[in-house]
Symmetry: C2
């Protein structure tokens, strides 16, 4: 009320918790209590404070919150923003988060381990409340080390033995089996898989899981003990080259299971260009059931794992962990087949 007070208001025009406290005629601690709806607040006080908050349009500073307590933000780490499967996961996360007071911040690692590490560290340094890592590249021990500092749920990361963090996956082994079974049911016997040729592909990755499922289903179907699995490079000039080579092989198989729609669609495209008829000369089945696969022009049969659902489940798991759960959870979803013309002329879509 004295001269000092008169001189102070000229500072910053940011509305802080102190501004609210002054406006409501209560202490800073009281305002904080109301915000966190902590114990020991009378209805009258609560009303007065919420009114002031409203009137001043006060928003707590996330930075300051993070310094002391929770920041009400969860970090999402994406390996690659181009894969059309990932937006679905985000949609699922945002859907669950929307009605809550949490918000998602996304980091994109471009599949570089270096960047992945530094993004995770940044998110920890921001004191985010939890992390959803989508198909991370880092080994399990490292993730476990991070998980000590912050709740973590890994999506598309097969490590059911992890105790420090949760995992949410579609059953990729089963998905591959379903694909093979569908091909067998259509009468194809000469089947190969086209997988991803990555250097750092560890056993926990979805790709390796799909390979395992592929092998098992092939053996179970009596098609040899070590079925052929071709590797497609990631980067662009070599990628198409490898596919063309595959398509022009004289001993090209009759059907192919492709690890991802991303590659399956390009394969379909190149097949058309090279005059290889689908499905008459080559049946193709992809993975992810991406929007593009559903296009009439493309009409690619694919294994559907609902990215949206994966995102939702992961978010719920993360929140429960943030709120105190310590035992780790490992959740599986069962994928399903979406049949289309690339599998057989009587797919579920238009056939001309």
């Amino acid at each position: 009320m004295s001269i000092e007070d008169k001189q102070k208001p000229q500072r910053n025009d940011r509305v802080t918790i102190r501004t609210v406290a002054t406006h409501a005629g209560v202490s800073v601690a009281a305002v904080s209590k109301v915000m966190r709806n902590a114990y020991g607040v009378s209805d009258a006080l609560r009303a007065r404070v919420t009114d002031s908050i409203e009137a001043l349009a006060y928003r707590p500073s996330r930075a300051a919150r993070g310094l002391r307590g929770r920041s009400f933000t969860i970090g999402v780490l994406l390996i690659d923003i181009r894969n059309p499967f990932l937006p679905e996961v985000i949609a699922g996360v945002n859907g669950v988060l929307a009605p809550s007071h949490y918000q998602a911040m996304i980091g994109v690692s471009d599949a570089r381990v270096q960047l992945e590490t530094s993004l995770i560290e940044s998110m920890i340094d921001y004191k985010m409340d939890g992390l959803i890592l989508v198909a991370p590249r880092l080994p399990s021990e490292i993730l476990a080390k991070f998980a000590v500092q912050i709740p973590i749920v890994a999506v598309g990361y097969h490590d059911a033995s992890a105790t420090a963090f949760d995992t949410v996956n579609a059953d990729d082994q089963r998905g591959a089996e379903i694909a093979v079974e569908a091909l067998l049911a259509c009468g194809y016997r000469d089947i190969e898989m086209l997988s991803l040729g990555e250097r750092q592909g560890h056993a926990v990755s979805v790709v390796r899981q799909r390979e395992i499922g592929f092998r098992r289903a092939m053996q179970r179907g009596g098609l040899g003990s070590s079925p052929a699995i071709g590797k497609i490079p990631i980067a662009s000039p070599k990628r198409e080259e490898a596919m063309r080579k595959f398509l022009s092989r004289k001993d090209r198989p009759r059907a192919v299971f492709c690890w991802s729609d991303l590659d399956a669609i390009t394969l379909l495209s190149l097949a058309m260009e090279m005059g290889v008829r689908v499905p008459d000369d080559l049946a193709v089945i992809g993975y992810d059931n991406s929007p593009t696969a559903a296009l009439g022009l493309v009409n690619l049969a694919s294994i559907d794992q609902s990215g949206r659902e994966l995102g939702q489940v992961a978010t719920r798991a993360l929140i429960s962990r943030i709120e105190g759960r310590t035992a780790s959870e490992h959740i599986f979803q069962i994928p399903s087949l979406v049949s289309r013309n690339s599998l057989t002329r009587s797919g579920n879509s238009t056939d001309r």
Copy 2:
């Protein structure tokens, strides 16, 4: 056990600036100076401190930094993560940021003004150093209000009169003109545009700009003073419905310019299903030159605006603004045509 507890004032094992200071035998302020490489540090001191930082694997807390000074993070706001054009922008941003000490955090607004506002506020509350807003929905006055609190660069937002923030755009009017000119050059005269039917579509949006360019080029080509512009709803059941209706019109035009590849590709797909031959019955030209458009199966002619480049330019502009520039900049890029089979049989791709 209890003794250990007593002796454990070491509390959390987090390495802070204080830990480093103790380890190096200097003051906290000295460490801070080295970090910020501020004036008044001897080589000897610097060496000692950097050694300690290295030895302790110290990372400054972003939360604490944000509370006081810069946080070395820039926020990117995406309207919609599904549009394949946006990942390109992100790639551009990350490319420029990678060698610097800045990092990008992404928020997804799903085109909801409410969420857009709250994400921007959150990013401000995190004391991020700057914001890149991609195709924001908020009106210019509101953005200007935010821009007082934080440096802002808007991408895909046509408001060259804004003084509070920068804009980076492809020249969408010109892009539409190029599309029309290409159609004219192929001999088509009966041309319509398919645009986006959005309620809140304000004049600054790229869509409206493309409409303006379309009209101007049509008039210039002597094709009427108010050429037809159809509107396609965003949401999924009505969207396809509107396209089918368009395709089955008896007075269907001979050529169509579509505001986005997203819709153009679906249109192509539906055209095939309905037996409308492209380009023989209907020529189509899209916008964005998305990866899918380039597929042999799709072969969609499209206007290319390099999203990557847009992202790069925007990031550089933002950094220069963070580092002190106050005069606003409004940058334009010129788009170009990528001709493919949907425009004419002699597109630049395979024609059989």
